[in-house]
Amino acid sequence: MRLNDQKQLSQEVTPKAVFESRRELIKSAAAGAFGVALAPWFSRDALASSSQKLIATPNPNFVPKEELTSYKYVTGYNNFYEFGTDKADPAAYAESLQTRPWTVTIEGLVKKPMTIDIDALLKLAPMEERIYRMRCVEGWSMVIPWDGYSLSKLLNQVQPLGSAKYVEFVTLADRKQMPGLKSQIIEWPYREGLRLDEAMNPLTLLTFGLYGETLPKQNGAPVRLVVPWKYGFKSAKSIVKIRLTEEMPKTSWSQFDAREYGFYSNVNPMVDHPRWSQATERRIGDPKGVFAPKIKTQMFNGYGDQVASMYTGMDLKKFY
């Protein structure tokens, strides 16, 4: 796919009106066949939230050959348990998330701790568009055009001390804004973490947008992390605090079940999840629908060239 094609793609998002009128058509057709009461059940609706344009320069190093996942699925099929456990919940309930005013506090083992406002954060470094594969631990994947800049740009500003070995990310947890917090699925707030060298790796993207727009609320607005060689849950959404530590931070899913969700969670087809194999994945939105063939999962999600050296000599079966 060429770069100018992508520009076009981001404008090919189905306008909401057309999308809805098509839905109505399907609904009325369903109603004719099965009675009005069943119509809503026979046509499943998705919601999308409004976003603003975000100017970003496409980075030619990150243009995979794969087809982009449609905006509809990128923004309608999400794991964001603060808004419910169903994949459709975030799109349906994230409207209540207040993304402004928003500040991110960077603290811990740094020379210059700071609390920075989202507007200052947006201007901290030039915005790039990078198209990354996103592999979820559940065995599905997407290809998403993200907008952001390397997290290292922010970390260099606060100057990590020599004693800092890890970076912890704390995300928002507010019962008033997040209906999912009613269920104690994990200990809120959701926490994630990286080793400092992973956090400084140029691939690790501090992300503010997708498809050339500011992040929709269900995708972790206003600022999230994208770590493309690790399973999706490592990419924390709606971040409010970044802490540099000497000890490995306790991350939410590892705390819940360390056997299923390791700290590293690098995409690895050789290390099975206890409940399923990770050797293959399903690409979301494959036009073949239920007959879509499974794709072979790549080591480090295909980003080995840029990240494998960080794990030299480590037993990735043990440090999964």
């Binding site: 099965f34 409940r275 239920v290």
Partner: protein
């Protein structure tokens, strides 16, 4: 009435086919049809188990006339559920299937549930009932065990993400339905109906 239940029981399948043709299965169609057929297997299993308590409470034997059909529909959706997995997930690779059944407890439970349903489906005829007599009743008590293995299958599938709200509701319903089989509670239910 039976014909109506038959048509209603086919609706979940018709809906999936309809959604399949109208691009309505969502972002992850495989997951959607797998979960939907699994859910309907369990719903029909619960309905099957509800017929006896309804008979006891209402003192009408009409309920038992629907029990066989509901049970067979549970088996029908279980076969589709299993078939989707075997075909679209495993591509009929039986060695791979067996590896999964042995290695992953939640699949073990699902598989046991299906295997145990098979003799019940095959002996659901009047003819089998007459031939087996006493043994028929004993054999068909397997459904109580199947209800437990089915819930475990679902529970362990969801436990990994600690997403237990829905499965808890089903577990509670199955628990209540099984409680109705305890002689003491059975008597209470039928006594209520004779007042």
């Amino acid at each position: 009435m039976k014909a109506l239940i038959f048509l209603l029981a086919l609706l979940p399948l018709e809906r999936l086919i309809w959604l399949g043709f109208t691009d309505g299965l969502g972002a992850n169609p495989m997951e959607f049809i797998t979960r939907s057929t699994g859910t309907w297997t369990l719903v029909f299993l619960c309905l099957t188990l509800a017929m006896t308590p309804l008979r006891l409470i209402s003192n009408l034997t009409i309920w038992i006339r629907y029990r066989r059909m509901l049970g067979l529909f549970s088996f029908f959706y279980a076969c589709i559920h299993f078939g989707i997995w075997l075909w679209l997930d495993l591509d009929f690779d039986l060695a791979e299937m067996w590896k999964d059944v042995v290695k992953r407890p939640f699949i073990t439970m699902g598989f046991i549930s299906l295997v145990l349903l098979v003799p019940l489906a095959f002996t659901s005829t009047h003819w089998a009932q007459k031939r087996l007599r006493r043994h028929w009743v004993q054999l068909h008590r397997l459904i109580y065990l199947i209800a437990c293995t089915a819930i475990l299958h679902y529970w362990w599938h969801k436990a990994g993400k600690n997403d237990l709200d829905t499965v808890s509701i089903y577990a509670a319903i199955v628990f209540l339905l099984l409680c109705c089989r305890i002689p003491y509670i059975r008597n209470i239910l039928s006594r209520r109906s004779s007042i």
